[in-house]
Protein backbone atom coordinates (compact mmCIF):
# COMPACT_ATOMS: atom_id res chain seq x y z
CA UNK A 1 0.00 0.00 0.00
CA UNK A 2 1.42 3.42 -0.91
CA UNK A 3 1.44 6.24 1.63
CA UNK A 4 -1.23 7.99 -0.43
CA UNK A 5 -3.50 4.96 -0.18
CA UNK A 6 -2.94 4.68 3.55
CA UNK A 7 -3.89 8.31 4.06
CA UNK A 8 -6.94 7.95 1.84
CA UNK A 9 -8.13 4.88 3.77
CA UNK A 10 -7.82 6.75 6.99
CA UNK A 11 -9.74 9.74 5.61
CA UNK A 12 -12.53 7.42 4.50
CA UNK A 13 -12.97 6.18 8.06
CA UNK A 14 -13.44 9.73 9.31
CA UNK A 15 -15.72 10.65 6.42
CA UNK A 16 -17.90 7.62 7.04
CA UNK A 17 -18.63 9.03 10.46
CA UNK A 18 -19.02 12.68 9.43
CA UNK A 19 -21.00 12.60 6.22
CA UNK A 20 -24.54 13.63 7.19
CA UNK A 21 -26.14 12.88 3.84
CA UNK A 22 -24.75 9.37 3.71
CA UNK A 23 -24.11 9.81 -0.02
CA UNK A 24 -22.01 7.15 -1.68
CA UNK A 25 -18.52 7.55 -0.31
CA UNK A 26 -15.68 7.24 -2.81
CA UNK A 27 -12.28 8.82 -3.32
CA UNK A 28 -13.52 11.28 -5.94
CA UNK A 29 -16.82 12.20 -4.31
CA UNK A 30 -17.43 15.94 -4.03
CA UNK A 31 -17.27 16.75 -0.31
CA UNK A 32 -19.97 19.42 -0.46
CA UNK A 33 -22.32 18.37 -3.23
CA UNK A 34 -22.17 14.57 -2.98
CA UNK A 35 -21.33 14.02 0.67
CA UNK A 36 -23.30 16.98 1.98
CA UNK A 37 -20.48 18.38 4.13
CA UNK A 38 -20.59 22.08 4.92
CA UNK A 39 -17.47 24.18 5.44
CA UNK A 40 -17.57 23.66 9.21
CA UNK A 41 -17.77 19.87 8.76
CA UNK A 42 -14.71 19.96 6.52
CA UNK A 43 -12.80 22.14 8.99
CA UNK A 44 -13.73 19.70 11.79
CA UNK A 45 -12.44 16.87 9.62
CA UNK A 46 -9.12 18.70 9.43
CA UNK A 47 -8.89 18.77 13.24
CA UNK A 48 -9.13 14.98 13.24
CA UNK A 49 -6.66 14.65 10.40
CA UNK A 50 -4.13 16.93 12.09
CA UNK A 51 -4.16 14.79 15.22
CA UNK A 52 -4.15 11.51 13.36
CA UNK A 53 -1.02 12.43 11.38
CA UNK A 54 0.47 14.89 13.87
CA UNK A 55 0.75 17.64 11.27
CA UNK A 56 -0.67 21.13 10.73
CA UNK A 57 -3.11 21.48 7.87
CA UNK A 58 -4.01 25.14 7.46
CA UNK A 59 -7.73 25.65 6.89
CA UNK A 60 -6.94 27.86 3.91
CA UNK A 61 -5.68 24.88 1.87
CA UNK A 62 -9.18 23.44 1.68
CA UNK A 63 -10.35 26.22 -0.61
CA UNK A 64 -8.85 24.19 -3.48
CA UNK A 65 -9.84 20.76 -2.19
CA UNK A 66 -13.09 19.16 -3.30
CA UNK A 67 -12.58 15.41 -2.92
CA UNK A 68 -11.06 12.93 -0.43
CA UNK A 69 -8.35 12.08 -2.98
CA UNK A 70 -7.30 15.73 -3.26
CA UNK A 71 -7.20 16.01 0.53
CA UNK A 72 -5.03 12.89 0.75
CA UNK A 73 -2.58 14.43 -1.72
CA UNK A 74 -2.44 17.65 0.28
CA UNK A 75 -1.71 15.71 3.49
CA UNK A 76 0.96 13.64 1.77
CA UNK A 77 2.63 16.82 0.58
CA UNK A 78 2.57 18.39 4.04
CA UNK A 79 3.99 15.20 5.59
CA UNK A 80 6.81 15.13 3.09
CA UNK A 81 7.72 18.80 3.58
Amino acid sequence: MTRHEQILDCLMVHLERLSPKGGKLHADADLANELGLDSVNVMDLLLEVEDEFDISVPVNVIADIHTPRQLASAIEKIEAA
Binding site: D38, S39, V40, M43, D44, L46, L47, E50, D51, D54, I55, S56, V57, P58, V59, N60
Partner: protein, 399 residues
Protein backbone atom coordinates in the same frame (compact mmCIF):
# COMPACT_ATOMS: atom_id res chain seq x y z
CA UNK B 1 -23.80 28.98 -13.61
CA UNK B 2 -25.52 32.35 -13.55
CA UNK B 3 -24.61 34.78 -10.84
CA UNK B 4 -27.47 34.11 -8.43
CA UNK B 5 -27.81 30.34 -8.97
CA UNK B 6 -25.43 29.53 -6.13
CA UNK B 7 -27.80 31.12 -3.61
CA UNK B 8 -30.72 28.88 -4.53
CA UNK B 9 -29.97 26.30 -1.85
CA UNK B 10 -29.80 29.01 0.81
CA UNK B 11 -32.97 30.68 -0.42
CA UNK B 12 -34.87 27.37 -0.51
CA UNK B 13 -33.71 26.47 2.99
CA UNK B 14 -34.86 29.83 4.27
CA UNK B 15 -38.21 29.66 2.48
CA UNK B 16 -38.91 26.24 3.98
CA UNK B 17 -38.28 27.49 7.48
CA UNK B 18 -39.78 30.92 7.22
CA UNK B 19 -43.28 30.31 5.93
CA UNK B 20 -44.97 32.31 8.72
CA UNK B 21 -44.57 36.01 9.38
CA UNK B 22 -42.80 37.60 11.18
CA UNK B 23 -39.58 36.15 9.83
CA UNK B 24 -37.05 35.06 12.49
CA UNK B 25 -34.16 35.94 10.18
CA UNK B 26 -33.84 39.69 10.02
CA UNK B 27 -37.03 40.23 12.01
CA UNK B 28 -38.46 43.69 11.43
CA UNK B 29 -38.73 45.50 14.75
CA UNK B 30 -41.46 48.05 14.15
CA UNK B 31 -40.94 50.20 17.21
CA UNK B 32 -38.32 50.41 19.92
CA UNK B 33 -39.64 51.89 23.16
CA UNK B 34 -36.64 51.35 25.43
CA UNK B 35 -33.54 49.12 25.64
CA UNK B 36 -35.83 46.26 26.66
CA UNK B 37 -39.21 46.90 25.01
CA UNK B 38 -40.40 47.06 21.46
CA UNK B 39 -43.16 46.15 19.04
CA UNK B 40 -43.01 43.50 16.33
CA UNK B 41 -46.14 43.54 14.17
CA UNK B 42 -49.00 44.01 16.62
CA UNK B 43 -47.16 42.26 19.43
CA UNK B 44 -45.44 44.23 22.16
CA UNK B 45 -42.34 42.33 23.22
CA UNK B 46 -39.60 42.22 25.81
CA UNK B 47 -36.36 42.55 23.86
CA UNK B 48 -34.25 39.59 24.98
CA UNK B 49 -32.31 39.10 21.78
CA UNK B 50 -29.97 42.09 21.64
CA UNK B 51 -26.42 42.90 22.68
CA UNK B 52 -27.53 45.88 24.74
CA UNK B 53 -25.89 44.49 27.87
CA UNK B 54 -25.82 47.69 29.88
CA UNK B 55 -28.96 49.18 28.35
CA UNK B 56 -27.09 52.30 27.25
CA UNK B 57 -28.90 52.81 23.91
CA UNK B 58 -31.39 55.12 25.66
CA UNK B 59 -29.04 56.62 28.23
CA UNK B 60 -29.93 60.31 28.43
CA UNK B 61 -26.32 61.49 28.75
CA UNK B 62 -25.20 59.48 25.70
CA UNK B 63 -28.13 60.81 23.71
CA UNK B 64 -27.52 64.41 24.80
CA UNK B 65 -23.85 64.15 23.78
CA UNK B 66 -24.85 62.70 20.42
CA UNK B 67 -27.39 65.49 19.85
CA UNK B 68 -24.81 68.10 20.68
CA UNK B 69 -22.23 66.60 18.30
CA UNK B 70 -24.82 66.32 15.55
CA UNK B 71 -25.61 70.01 15.87
CA UNK B 72 -22.00 71.09 16.26
CA UNK B 73 -20.23 68.88 13.73
CA UNK B 74 -22.89 67.61 11.35
CA UNK B 75 -24.28 64.25 10.42
CA UNK B 76 -21.14 62.60 9.03
CA UNK B 77 -17.42 63.05 8.47
CA UNK B 78 -17.59 62.14 4.75
CA UNK B 79 -14.09 60.73 4.85
CA UNK B 80 -11.38 58.41 6.09
CA UNK B 81 -9.42 58.92 9.29
CA UNK B 82 -6.32 59.28 7.10
CA UNK B 83 -7.91 62.04 5.05
CA UNK B 84 -10.63 64.47 6.16
CA UNK B 85 -12.41 62.21 8.68
CA UNK B 86 -10.14 62.62 11.69
CA UNK B 87 -11.99 64.95 14.08
CA UNK B 88 -10.84 65.84 17.56
CA UNK B 89 -13.51 63.51 18.99
CA UNK B 90 -12.02 60.46 17.24
CA UNK B 91 -8.61 61.20 18.67
CA UNK B 92 -9.99 61.98 22.10
CA UNK B 93 -11.83 58.66 22.13
CA UNK B 94 -8.59 56.83 21.28
CA UNK B 95 -6.83 58.52 24.17
CA UNK B 96 -9.73 57.65 26.47
CA UNK B 97 -9.76 54.02 25.32
CA UNK B 98 -6.02 53.73 25.91
CA UNK B 99 -6.48 55.17 29.40
CA UNK B 100 -9.46 52.90 30.09
CA UNK B 101 -7.48 49.79 29.14
CA UNK B 102 -4.27 51.11 30.74
CA UNK B 103 -2.38 50.49 27.52
CA UNK B 104 -0.38 52.99 25.46
CA UNK B 105 -2.08 52.61 22.10
CA UNK B 106 -5.60 52.44 20.71
CA UNK B 107 -7.15 52.63 17.24
CA UNK B 108 -10.82 53.30 16.53
CA UNK B 109 -12.44 51.53 13.56
CA UNK B 110 -15.84 52.03 11.95
CA UNK B 111 -17.25 48.68 13.22
CA UNK B 112 -16.05 45.75 15.33
CA UNK B 113 -16.03 43.62 12.19
CA UNK B 114 -13.61 46.07 10.64
CA UNK B 115 -11.52 46.22 13.80
CA UNK B 116 -10.78 42.52 13.34
CA UNK B 117 -10.19 42.94 9.62
CA UNK B 118 -8.05 46.00 10.22
CA UNK B 119 -5.95 44.60 13.07
CA UNK B 120 -5.54 40.92 12.20
CA UNK B 121 -5.62 41.46 8.45
CA UNK B 122 -2.73 43.91 8.75
CA UNK B 123 -0.57 42.34 11.49
CA UNK B 124 -0.16 39.02 9.71
CA UNK B 125 0.20 37.99 6.08
CA UNK B 126 1.28 35.13 3.83
CA UNK B 127 3.87 32.95 5.58
CA UNK B 128 2.57 33.88 9.06
CA UNK B 129 0.20 31.76 11.12
CA UNK B 130 -3.02 32.34 13.03
CA UNK B 131 -4.09 29.73 15.58
CA UNK B 132 -7.70 30.42 16.53
CA UNK B 133 -10.46 28.91 18.62
CA UNK B 134 -12.72 26.93 16.30
CA UNK B 135 -15.78 28.92 17.44
CA UNK B 136 -14.32 32.34 16.67
CA UNK B 137 -16.57 34.94 15.07
CA UNK B 138 -16.85 35.23 11.28
CA UNK B 139 -15.04 38.58 11.33
CA UNK B 140 -11.93 36.82 12.65
CA UNK B 141 -12.09 34.15 9.96
CA UNK B 142 -12.64 36.84 7.33
CA UNK B 143 -9.68 38.82 8.64
CA UNK B 144 -7.50 35.74 8.17
CA UNK B 145 -8.74 35.35 4.62
CA UNK B 146 -7.97 38.97 3.87
CA UNK B 147 -4.49 38.47 5.31
CA UNK B 148 -3.76 35.32 3.28
CA UNK B 149 -2.30 33.84 6.46
CA UNK B 150 -2.16 30.12 7.36
CA UNK B 151 -5.09 29.37 9.68
CA UNK B 152 -4.95 26.55 12.23
CA UNK B 153 -8.04 25.94 14.37
CA UNK B 154 -7.99 24.45 17.85
CA UNK B 155 -10.95 22.78 19.55
CA UNK B 156 -13.22 25.24 21.29
CA UNK B 157 -12.03 26.31 24.76
CA UNK B 158 -9.49 23.48 24.87
CA UNK B 159 -6.05 24.77 26.02
CA UNK B 160 -4.49 21.29 25.63
CA UNK B 161 -5.57 21.23 22.02
CA UNK B 162 -4.03 24.69 21.56
CA UNK B 163 -0.83 23.44 23.20
CA UNK B 164 -0.61 20.55 20.75
CA UNK B 165 -1.12 22.81 17.74
CA UNK B 166 1.36 25.46 18.86
CA UNK B 167 3.87 22.68 19.48
CA UNK B 168 3.74 21.69 15.80
CA UNK B 169 4.66 25.17 14.57
CA UNK B 170 8.41 25.15 15.30
CA UNK B 171 10.08 28.48 14.41
CA UNK B 172 6.87 29.80 12.95
CA UNK B 173 5.67 30.57 16.48
CA UNK B 174 7.49 33.93 16.35
CA UNK B 175 5.05 35.26 13.76
CA UNK B 176 1.96 33.54 15.14
CA UNK B 177 -1.19 35.20 16.43
CA UNK B 178 -3.32 33.19 18.85
CA UNK B 179 -6.92 34.42 18.76
CA UNK B 180 -9.73 33.78 21.24
CA UNK B 181 -12.83 35.61 22.43
CA UNK B 182 -13.81 36.68 25.93
CA UNK B 183 -17.44 35.60 25.98
CA UNK B 184 -18.57 33.58 22.95
CA UNK B 185 -21.60 35.18 21.34
CA UNK B 186 -23.77 32.11 20.74
CA UNK B 187 -23.43 29.89 23.83
CA UNK B 188 -22.30 32.66 26.17
CA UNK B 189 -19.41 30.57 27.49
CA UNK B 190 -16.06 32.14 28.35
CA UNK B 191 -12.52 31.34 27.26
CA UNK B 192 -10.33 29.60 29.88
CA UNK B 193 -7.99 32.54 29.56
CA UNK B 194 -5.62 31.70 32.42
CA UNK B 195 -4.87 28.32 30.90
CA UNK B 196 -4.59 29.77 27.40
CA UNK B 197 -2.13 32.38 28.65
CA UNK B 198 -0.08 29.63 30.33
CA UNK B 199 0.14 27.78 27.01
CA UNK B 200 1.14 30.99 25.23
CA UNK B 201 3.87 31.63 27.81
CA UNK B 202 5.28 28.20 27.22
CA UNK B 203 5.37 28.40 23.42
CA UNK B 204 5.47 32.11 22.52
CA UNK B 205 3.44 33.98 19.92
CA UNK B 206 1.09 36.93 20.32
CA UNK B 207 -2.36 36.75 21.91
CA UNK B 208 -5.44 38.60 20.62
CA UNK B 209 -8.61 38.55 22.72
CA UNK B 210 -11.84 39.76 21.11
CA UNK B 211 -13.76 41.19 24.07
CA UNK B 212 -16.81 42.15 21.96
CA UNK B 213 -19.24 40.53 24.41
CA UNK B 214 -17.21 40.89 27.60
CA UNK B 215 -16.08 44.53 27.61
CA UNK B 216 -18.28 46.50 30.01
CA UNK B 217 -19.60 43.18 31.27
CA UNK B 218 -16.62 41.60 33.06
CA UNK B 219 -13.72 42.80 35.19
CA UNK B 220 -13.72 45.21 38.09
CA UNK B 221 -13.39 48.19 35.74
CA UNK B 222 -15.28 46.62 32.84
CA UNK B 223 -12.21 45.87 30.75
CA UNK B 224 -13.39 42.37 30.02
CA UNK B 225 -12.39 38.77 30.65
CA UNK B 226 -8.64 39.48 30.63
CA UNK B 227 -9.13 41.90 33.52
CA UNK B 228 -11.44 39.50 35.36
CA UNK B 229 -8.85 36.72 35.05
CA UNK B 230 -5.91 38.97 35.95
CA UNK B 231 -3.98 38.22 32.75
CA UNK B 232 -4.02 41.55 30.92
CA UNK B 233 -0.22 41.73 30.75
CA UNK B 234 -0.18 38.54 28.68
CA UNK B 235 -2.79 39.73 26.21
CA UNK B 236 -1.01 41.58 23.42
CA UNK B 237 -4.07 42.96 21.69
CA UNK B 238 -7.66 43.51 22.75
CA UNK B 239 -10.27 44.00 20.03
CA UNK B 240 -13.77 45.16 20.76
CA UNK B 241 -16.87 46.87 19.53
CA UNK B 242 -19.02 49.87 20.41
CA UNK B 243 -22.12 48.03 19.22
CA UNK B 244 -22.83 45.97 22.34
CA UNK B 245 -22.32 47.21 25.91
CA UNK B 246 -21.57 50.73 24.63
CA UNK B 247 -24.85 50.88 22.74
CA UNK B 248 -23.68 52.51 19.50
CA UNK B 249 -21.59 51.34 16.54
CA UNK B 250 -17.85 51.19 15.85
CA UNK B 251 -14.87 49.13 16.95
CA UNK B 252 -11.40 49.37 18.41
CA UNK B 253 -8.09 47.67 19.02
CA UNK B 254 -5.79 48.43 21.95
CA UNK B 255 -2.35 47.10 22.81
CA UNK B 256 0.60 47.42 25.12
CA UNK B 257 2.77 47.40 21.98
CA UNK B 258 3.23 51.06 21.10
CA UNK B 259 3.83 49.99 17.51
CA UNK B 260 0.11 49.34 17.16
CA UNK B 261 -0.12 52.96 16.12
CA UNK B 262 1.74 52.21 12.88
CA UNK B 263 -0.87 49.61 11.91
CA UNK B 264 -3.22 52.41 10.92
CA UNK B 265 -0.83 53.45 8.16
CA UNK B 266 -1.12 50.05 6.47
CA UNK B 267 -4.60 48.91 7.46
CA UNK B 268 -6.94 48.97 4.47
CA UNK B 269 -10.14 48.54 6.54
CA UNK B 270 -9.02 51.60 8.51
CA UNK B 271 -7.98 53.71 5.55
CA UNK B 272 -10.48 52.92 2.83
CA UNK B 273 -13.72 53.66 4.65
CA UNK B 274 -15.29 56.68 6.29
CA UNK B 275 -14.76 57.31 10.00
CA UNK B 276 -17.64 56.99 12.50
CA UNK B 277 -20.04 59.94 12.62
CA UNK B 278 -19.45 62.67 15.21
CA UNK B 279 -22.68 61.76 17.02
CA UNK B 280 -21.58 58.13 17.31
CA UNK B 281 -18.19 59.09 18.70
CA UNK B 282 -19.75 61.50 21.18
CA UNK B 283 -22.17 58.92 22.57
CA UNK B 284 -19.44 56.26 22.80
CA UNK B 285 -17.20 58.60 24.79
CA UNK B 286 -19.95 59.09 27.36
CA UNK B 287 -20.78 55.38 27.39
CA UNK B 288 -17.14 54.50 28.04
CA UNK B 289 -17.14 56.85 30.98
CA UNK B 290 -20.29 55.16 32.32
CA UNK B 291 -18.69 51.72 31.95
CA UNK B 292 -15.67 52.94 33.92
CA UNK B 293 -17.60 54.71 36.66
CA UNK B 294 -20.87 52.85 37.18
CA UNK B 295 -20.02 49.27 38.17
CA UNK B 296 -23.56 49.02 39.57
CA UNK B 297 -24.79 48.48 36.00
CA UNK B 298 -22.54 45.42 35.69
CA UNK B 299 -23.76 44.07 38.99
CA UNK B 300 -27.37 44.48 37.87
CA UNK B 301 -26.59 42.72 34.59
CA UNK B 302 -25.07 39.73 36.38
CA UNK B 303 -27.86 39.53 38.88
CA UNK B 304 -30.35 39.43 35.97
CA UNK B 305 -28.21 36.89 34.12
CA UNK B 306 -28.08 34.54 37.08
CA UNK B 307 -31.81 34.83 37.70
CA UNK B 308 -32.58 33.98 34.08
CA UNK B 309 -30.11 31.09 33.90
CA UNK B 310 -31.44 29.54 37.11
CA UNK B 311 -35.02 29.95 35.92
CA UNK B 312 -34.44 28.33 32.54
CA UNK B 313 -32.39 25.52 34.07
CA UNK B 314 -35.19 24.92 36.56
CA UNK B 315 -37.68 24.74 33.69
CA UNK B 316 -35.61 21.88 32.30
CA UNK B 317 -33.83 23.54 29.39
CA UNK B 318 -30.47 22.37 28.09
CA UNK B 319 -28.39 25.54 28.36
CA UNK B 320 -24.90 26.74 27.50
CA UNK B 321 -22.31 25.77 30.13
CA UNK B 322 -22.14 29.05 32.08
CA UNK B 323 -24.54 31.75 33.21
CA UNK B 324 -23.88 35.20 31.77
CA UNK B 325 -25.37 37.96 29.65
CA UNK B 326 -25.95 35.43 26.86
CA UNK B 327 -27.86 32.26 27.62
CA UNK B 328 -28.48 29.74 24.87
CA UNK B 329 -31.26 27.15 25.03
CA UNK B 330 -30.34 24.23 22.81
CA UNK B 331 -33.08 22.61 20.76
CA UNK B 332 -33.39 19.45 18.72
CA UNK B 333 -33.99 20.65 15.17
CA UNK B 334 -34.22 23.82 13.11
CA UNK B 335 -37.94 23.18 12.54
CA UNK B 336 -38.56 22.89 16.25
CA UNK B 337 -36.51 26.01 16.92
CA UNK B 338 -38.49 28.05 14.38
CA UNK B 339 -41.83 26.98 15.89
CA UNK B 340 -40.53 27.70 19.38
CA UNK B 341 -39.28 31.14 18.34
CA UNK B 342 -42.75 32.05 17.00
CA UNK B 343 -44.41 30.78 20.17
CA UNK B 344 -42.09 32.87 22.35
CA UNK B 345 -42.97 35.92 20.30
CA UNK B 346 -46.68 35.26 20.82
CA UNK B 347 -45.89 35.18 24.53
CA UNK B 348 -44.27 38.62 24.21
CA UNK B 349 -40.62 37.59 24.22
CA UNK B 350 -38.20 38.34 21.40
CA UNK B 351 -35.02 36.23 21.32
CA UNK B 352 -32.52 35.34 18.58
CA UNK B 353 -33.01 32.21 16.53
CA UNK B 354 -29.69 30.68 15.51
CA UNK B 355 -29.49 27.83 13.05
CA UNK B 356 -26.61 25.69 11.79
CA UNK B 357 -23.99 26.21 10.44
CA UNK B 358 -23.80 29.43 12.52
CA UNK B 359 -24.18 27.35 15.71
CA UNK B 360 -21.45 25.44 17.51
CA UNK B 361 -21.84 21.71 17.11
CA UNK B 362 -24.46 22.12 14.38
CA UNK B 363 -27.30 22.46 16.93
CA UNK B 364 -30.29 24.80 16.65
CA UNK B 365 -30.64 27.24 19.49
CA UNK B 366 -32.42 30.28 20.77
CA UNK B 367 -30.10 32.91 22.18
CA UNK B 368 -31.45 34.91 25.09
CA UNK B 369 -29.61 38.07 26.08
CA UNK B 370 -30.08 40.01 29.27
CA UNK B 371 -29.48 43.66 29.94
CA UNK B 372 -28.85 45.68 33.07
CA UNK B 373 -31.97 47.54 31.94
CA UNK B 374 -34.27 44.51 32.35
CA UNK B 375 -36.18 44.61 35.61
CA UNK B 376 -36.89 41.44 37.55
CA UNK B 377 -40.50 41.43 36.38
CA UNK B 378 -39.28 41.21 32.78
CA UNK B 379 -36.78 38.46 33.60
CA UNK B 380 -39.55 36.54 35.34
CA UNK B 381 -41.86 37.00 32.34
CA UNK B 382 -39.17 35.55 30.07
CA UNK B 383 -38.76 32.57 32.40
CA UNK B 384 -42.54 32.16 32.55
CA UNK B 385 -42.86 32.08 28.75
CA UNK B 386 -40.14 29.44 28.50
CA UNK B 387 -41.74 27.39 31.28
CA UNK B 388 -45.20 27.55 29.70
CA UNK B 389 -43.84 26.52 26.30
CA UNK B 390 -41.64 23.68 27.50
CA UNK B 391 -44.21 20.97 26.67
CA UNK B 392 -44.07 21.83 22.95
CA UNK B 393 -40.44 20.65 22.98
CA UNK B 394 -41.11 17.20 24.40
CA UNK B 395 -40.12 14.43 22.00
CA UNK B 396 -43.73 13.47 21.25
CA UNK B 397 -44.46 17.03 20.16
CA UNK B 398 -41.58 17.09 17.67
CA UNK B 399 -42.76 18.23 14.25
Amino acid sequence: MALFDKFKKLADARAALMATEPCPLGTRIDEVFSPTQGRIGDQEVILAGTNNYLGLTFNSDCIAAAHHALDAEGSGTTGSRLANGNYSGHQALEIELARFFERPSAIVFSTGYMANLGLIGTLVGPGDTVVLDADCHASIYDACRLAGVDVIRFRHNDPRDLDKRLGRLGDKIDSTLIIVEGIYSMLGDRAPLKEIVAVKRQHGGYLVVDEAHSMGVMGEHGRGLAEAEGVEADVDFVVGTFSKSLGAIGGFAVSHHRELDTVRLASRPYIFTASPSPATIASVRVALDIVANRPALRHQLWSNAERLYAGLAHAGYELGPQSGPVTAALLDSPQQAVAFWHALLEHGVYVNLVLPPATPGGRALVRVSVSAAHDTTQIDRIIEAFTTLKPMLSSSAKP
